[in-house]
């Protein structure tokens, strides 16, 4: 109804397979593709690297919540991380120019952080994040980050929030559509059994098609 094509679900590892199957059936009925996603929130770099080694291959999308500068630097640099996000309500952490230069993946802005604003300057911090992203031409993903159906908004509305926060019309549209879609597609391809490495794909074997 809201106009989406895919839904990325943050699923705990212990119930990944059963939950994914059940929810995929449910979302299939309304024409939505289901994607598994993990949000990593680590206190130090060692923990982050350990979790990345353990979970990268199990999930379609890996995102990291940057809680401190060390974790943020590693998450931005690591190619296994698809998206990084900063809580605008966290006063101690911000998306700096240095991090923007390091970033390999995309910067995510969760609408839920703005809907449930703890501090008055959350919008201002989000605007600053977008200004830095725009300056360094960082890929941006605008997502709902919702925990209940009442927090879902249409892609049109999400795009408008991006424009209001300082992204251009085109950049904001990409942040809602093509950037997240390309992340999902490239990871799906990477997780397929025919994938060897970047640019190399198994097309057939002797006796096999």
């Amino acid at each position: 109804m809201a106009g989406y094509r895919s839904v990325a679900l943050t699923i705990p590892t212990a119930i990944l397979n059963e939950y994914l199957k059940a929810s995929a059936q449910c979302f299939d009925q309304v024409g939505l593709e289901t994607v598994s996603r993990i949000d990593l929130a680590c206190s130090n770099r060692y923990e982050l690297l350990k979790l990345l080694r353990r979970f990268r291959s199990q999930y379609d999308v890996v995102s990291v919540k940057c809680t401190n500068q060390n974790v943020a630097a590693i998450a931005c640099r690591d190619r296994r991380v698809d998206v990084v996000f900063f809580d605008p309500n966290n006063r101690n952490m911000k998306f700096t120019h240095t991090l923007a230069r390091l970033l390999n993946g995309a910067l995510e802005l969760n609408l839920s952080f703005l809907l449930i604003r703890e501090s008055g300057d959350a919008l201002n911090k989000a605007m600053r994040q977008m200004a830095v992203a725009r300056e360094h031409r960082v890929k941006v993903v605008l997502s709902s980050g919702c925990t209940s159906p009442k927090m879902v908004r249409t892609p049109m509305q999400t795009k408008a929030v991006g424009v209001t926060l300082g992204l251009s019309e085109a950049q904001s549209a990409e942040a809602v559509s093509s950037v997240p879609y390309s992340i999902i597609q490239s990871n799906k391809e990477r997780r397929s059994p025919l994938y060897i490495e970047e640019g190399v794909r198994l097309v057939g074997r002797n006796g096999l098609k």
Binding site: M1, S148, K150, V163
Partner: protein, 101 residues
């Protein structure tokens, strides 16, 4: 000045009156864009059907994104969660009800 018309789906547990709906929208506009923003958006409720939970609102064409943002941030009315989903935007009221090609 040309206008833009929004078809808004209201997701609310209780029955919402026209007055409360327009108040919620206006409060969000005033909170995020101020009095000047309120004046430039020039919000008007064209019609509201509580049975179908659908409303049609109008604004100035140049302020489409501002109204969309303000409607996005409407979160609760009288402490009850609410969601205003903009399902369609059009330049005329007539084409809002036409099926998509």
């Amino acid at each position: 000045m040309s206008k833009r018309y929004f078809m808004v789906r209201v997701i609310f547990e209780k029955q919402l009156t026209e007055q409360r709906l327009i108040e919620a929208m206006a409060t969000s506009i005033a909170k995020h864009f101020g009095e000047v923003g309120m004046a430039s958006i020039n919000l008007r409720l064209i019609r509201y059907d509580p049975e179908r939970a659908e409303a049609v609102v109008a604004c100035e064409k140049s302020t489409t994104d501002q109204l969309l943002t303000a409607l996005t941030f409407v979160r609760e009315v009288d402490g009850v969660p609410i969601s205003l989903l903009v399902v369609r935007i059009s330049g005329t009221i007539k084409s809002l009800s036409k099926p998509k090609k």
